[in-house]
Subunit: 292 residues, 2 copies
Amino acid sequence: MTTERGIALQSAGVVGLGLIGGSIARDLHALGVRVLGYDRDGATLDMACAEGVVDRALDESLTGLEDADAVIVAVPVLLLPDTLRTIKDATSARLITDVGSTKRSAIAAAESLGLGERFVGSHPMAGDHRSGWRASRKGLFADAIVYLCRTRRTGEEPVNLAQELWRALGARPRIIDAGAHDQLLAYASHLMQSVATALALTLDDAGVSRTDLGPGGSDSTRLAGGSVEMWTAIARDNADALVPAIRALEGRLAQLRAALAREDDDALHTAFAAARAWFARTEGDVGAEARR
Amino acid sequence: MTTERGIALQSAGVVGLGLIGGSIARDLHALGVRVLGYDRDGATLDMACAEGVVDRALDESLTGLEDADAVIVAVPVLLLPDTLRTIKDATSARLITDVGSTKRSAIAAAESLGLGERFVGSHPMAGDHRSGWRASRKGLFADAIVYLCRTRRTGEEPVNLAQELWRALGARPRIIDAGAHDQLLAYASHLMQSVATALALTLDDAGVSRTDLGPGGSDSTRLAGGSVEMWTAIARDNADALVPAIRALEGRLAQLRAALAREDDDALHTAFAAARAWFARTEGDVGAEARR
């Protein structure tokens, strides 16, 4: 049976009810899907049940997941392998997916556990610097890109179901190779987190606080407020792709600095103009989406 | 005579009707102040008059400014000295102020022209990556910090009038030494612009477009859309303070990169945690202001 918005799921397991998992659970509940939920934090699980979002609370054995048509794992990257191991024995769901920011390690974990056929790696480009159930909300994935990565053995049905799931949440799925994903995200996301972190440390050293910043500076440093544990794990997991990205940025900064030091107006103008051109190339495409 | 919101100005000259000057003119007009306006772009000046914001259009001689109680100069940093020279002969206004992002050069220009007694340097921390009259709007300065810098000879009356003027526009004036301002802004603003520029160039090199970014990446690169001419001039004007700021950031990035390369989880965790602590220290103070 299919719900109104066309999602062919009766029930779904959501393991981890933080910002991402909690928001998925809220959307699925609103779509009429029965949500089986677990979080290692008992208070979180209690809140999710009390708000009526989670229909059935699971314990750490994940017993009860056998009823789920799909399982979404929204735990920190480092906990994924152990969580998948528990899920493997607990469910015969047609789709098992995660939401982590790195995909090669997720695919490798699923394959090594023999979950390859029904695993699809997901990475929704949504969220903000807040975290936890309290930050979760309906509609978080509206218009967001969601990268989907197959294992070497993923079947067509799980891929179709994953696309359907994310579309039902308002997101825009893009199928991509896990290696290409991690390379792209090293620049599009993990570099941004690294820069916000380095900026925060630099400003702290200089005695500059967030209250000294204008709107541009606030936006540029907002990511520094993100989860320490999550970002330590993501950066480590994608280090081989992130290291060259940071080095490339250092090179561009050094060029700008050298142009300033030698009072080279032409070089400065060229740099600002090239950056502006990159920005303007997609101005129409981003617009409202980026400002959301 | 004083208007309703307590601004003791009958008339004000606004020279330069871009994002900042245009927004000042709109607010002053709304407060009942007679606005004498000039812009080197004739179409801009025509629009400002047609919308009824500018009560009297001036030509490049700025004849007519003799009636102004205060003159606000909102031209690009590099044009300030020539503009002040023209203004000097055109007005006996009690206050002459600018809106530029660097203040030592503005103070020096005013002093060298003999305008020191009635000049106060202003720098409103407002605006965004758009520019020009069309981007100007009422209320742009609501709750914004505005730095005010004296010359060595500025009298009390111009300082009081400048504070009154900005408060009437909803802003929060902070009096600061011009050198301290330029040092602070090298970190709080000009470094942010440099980073967004270097990020844009790095992403461009890697074939990553703005449509590949999530909300965090969009915010982190938004400043790259700023005015090329304006930022070339600002960066050059404050190069001596900006060069060490960029170098400090490069150092922090290199530390992060080295920690990643040697798989040093402790060092990574420490860096992300210190950045988070900097962010969280002022979370309550920034809040709504930063998200505007």
